[in-house]
Symmetry: C3
């Protein structure tokens, strides 16, 4: 069993229930991971994902080994048949096969490069590990997806929803740098698995996510209209998908403010963090009592722990 | 309970006694830290502090998670109300609150920038964590203080003192690079808590530490005179406090040599390390039998372990 | 007991047998390392060595502390009597003595600089630690040697040999960058301890390894002739020893191909990894059924575990 995409979840509602059980008693399964080793491979920086996944593994009694590829100056080749006479010193085939021998589970972070859409959306790194590793693979944010985040988001919404069929808005917001679409993509995929939620995506025209991800999700270009009666507002910047990886819009009118939140149904504010204050969202909203970003980050531990626990049980 | 400054110690003599007890039997409290996690956050490099604090945590049965902010390219915003449209990608508020959820204790290293005296002496980083974290904070060297070092220094002096009221000299020595005042500051604050020690600070004129730190400590600008009959000579470079963060003096006459040590009462040589040989101190002194720098470094483990143990008992 | 060179092994055949026993039951000695700490110091990047050595320590129940000197910007001075007024901030003497107090075993990686043959072959870094550390030292690849790799190589050959006296070839192959001679050197030293193996080294003229290492080993400048009837082909690039640290030959005719392997006695292909595909060796050979590079990497864990186990038993 791997955990690459939110679609690796057979029943989202059951998973969410299981995660909330883990949250009540996180040390219950300390024997499960005994003498099992989690290898955490980082091709990009990480704070929340690094610490929460490590904490989850510790809660399960696992050993953790961390490898920072970027800091180590270690680059991998992903092309089959490459003549490796420059650049990368090792092919993904050897790296994945070798690391599999030292670890029981491998967790990987490898962001989109945002230069080559096809390469990014082919999920070169995580696919390479999936192809060549001989142990389960966990996605700690790949080029296209961040499914441990989205599972944590689902857990958080379950905790904070106040009615049977809440309205959930995914809103784009401005950001000075080009960011991947991974968090938004996985959130959309997770929402498509929710049975009793109304979901709408709002962003400036031209900022459409991949249609293969959004499928028939409702898109509303008027942010104010989208926010009306929302129970959850999930905010995230992403760079342009069509004009790939470019920042073509930094319109401050899309910043989430108290005025905009006033349009909602006393809606909760969510963001995966890190968040740029007064760019993505105003201090007033982020520090307000309807902001649940800290609780959301806390659920990263239980999201990761559920994933590791499911995999450990199948080892 | 936090450990930010040596002034967080209620009774220095009792703490020193407790640390010496720990040193005799460091594994006695292995159950105390079971299932507790220490998060170590480094905004600057560390060798001794990193390894000794980690070792202390291990001795107490704790789990340790390490995050290197500098290497990760992760910078934090500390200003309230900042419009975060450039530079830092995360505010201390979120970072501190989030990491608090994954750790039972957070230890932080964040040196003085030496560019802005007010900002440094406001202890921006450690104060930010104190303000927003929801778990105890331990100072692994902040802009202004290094209280785990000073506690280790007190332990070491207790072990090596040969008379009731020893004379202790804190001596500046030259160094090619601008160094923070933190070690000297905390040493001064620790000496102010010592009941039976004569204390004198010696440095070139113009190299006064903050008067808010040194208060009424005796200052002697003649290094030779200061060394007379000293039982302990604690040597440390610091950059100029008045002409803030500048190196305005590299006078090799301040290097500690055997001739100077001959003026002391068979005095012990101390330094927090790392030390530049034949700049701060001559090989002869550092390698001599009165040098106790290695023993001093060893006590870093027991200093850290005492601090963690005190905090764990109050969790 | 230290493990610096393959010559620290008293009986290679006994060590290989012990390692194969460990491989069958790697968790048998989990009590041996309890409350013992391995300090892993990296002056250079590492993937296999880092993870396999850490895994070995975990298998033995040890605690592991990792310090990356390069990433931390920490450089050491190795010269006695140096006036340290620029460059390195700490002398090996203090660093080694201090770290010895926090660790029960210190493992070190410090590659050849390839600029100064005398300095490299004096093994400045590892010798400095040997001189000043007060705990056992393990070599995770020094300027001249990589004995944990060579022990893994011996274990692997024992597993895959099909006749009493196999023929083993060490073959140079081209590489775009200047690489150390350490792996080749240690392999040669290990082969000199093998009783029942025919050994030949092949490389272009001018690419002779240190004669103090190769002694009276057979050298064959014709790669094809060397490969004839070989049972194991161990391939590795190294930079020029005479014209020290230079790449004076990148002749693609030395790349190991299926045609060349056809000259062998159904020979196994070995390489320590990372390996540059289609430069050192063709895909066809590396992916072929006679390639045992992955199994070889797996044995790194048992090689390291045997070394640590031997040291732990003598602590």
């Amino acid at each position: 069993m791997n955990y690459i995409s939110i679609q690796d979840i057979n029943s989202l509602s059951k998973w969410v229930k299981s995660a909330l059980k883990i949250k009540k008693n996180p040390l219950k399964n300390q024997e499960l991971g005994k003498n099992k080793t989690l290898g955490m491979l980082f091709f990009n920086p990480s704070l929340r994902t690094r610490l929460s996944t490590q904490k989850a593994a510790i809660n399960l009694g696992m050993n953790v080994m961390v490898m920072n590829f970027t800091n180590e100056g270690w680059t991998l080749e992903f092309e089959d048949g490459a003549i490796m006479d420059s650049g990368a010193s090792e092919h993904i085939k050897e790296a994945a096969e070798v690391v599999s021998q030292y670890c029981d589970i491998i967790a990987i972070r490898a962001f989109a490069g945002l230069a080559d859409k096809e390469k990014d959306y082919a999920e070169t790194v995580i696919s390479g590990f999936l192809k060549y590793a001989t142990v389960p693979i966990v996605n700690m944010e790949s080029a296209v997806r961040h499914p441990m985040q989205s599972l944590a988001d689902a857990i958080t919404m379950e905790e904070y929803k106040t009615k049977h069929k809440p309205k959930v808005v995914l809103s784009w917001a401005p950001h000075p740098k080009a960011l991947p679409q991974a968090v938004a993509n996985s959130f959309v995929e997770m929402m498509q698995m929710q049975k009793d939620m109304d979901f709408v995506i709002t962003h400036p025209e031209g900022y459409e996510l991949s249609p293969e991800i959004t499928k028939d999700c409702k898109i509303e270009y008027d942010q104010n209209k989208a926010f009306e009666n929302a129970d959850f507002v999930y905010v995230k910047n992403w760079s342009n998908f069509k004009d790939y990886g470019k920042v073509t819009n930094t319109d401050p009118n899309w910043t989430v403010t108290a005025e905009k939140m006033a349009l909602t149904n006393n809606g909760k504010f969510m963001h995966c963090l890190p968040v740029r204050r007064n760019v993505i969202v105003s201090d007033e909203v982020l520090d307000g009592e309807n902001s649940i970003v800290i609780q959301q980050a806390n659920n990263r531990t239980y999201s990761a722990q559920l994933v590791l626990q499911k995999i450990l049980k199948k080892l």
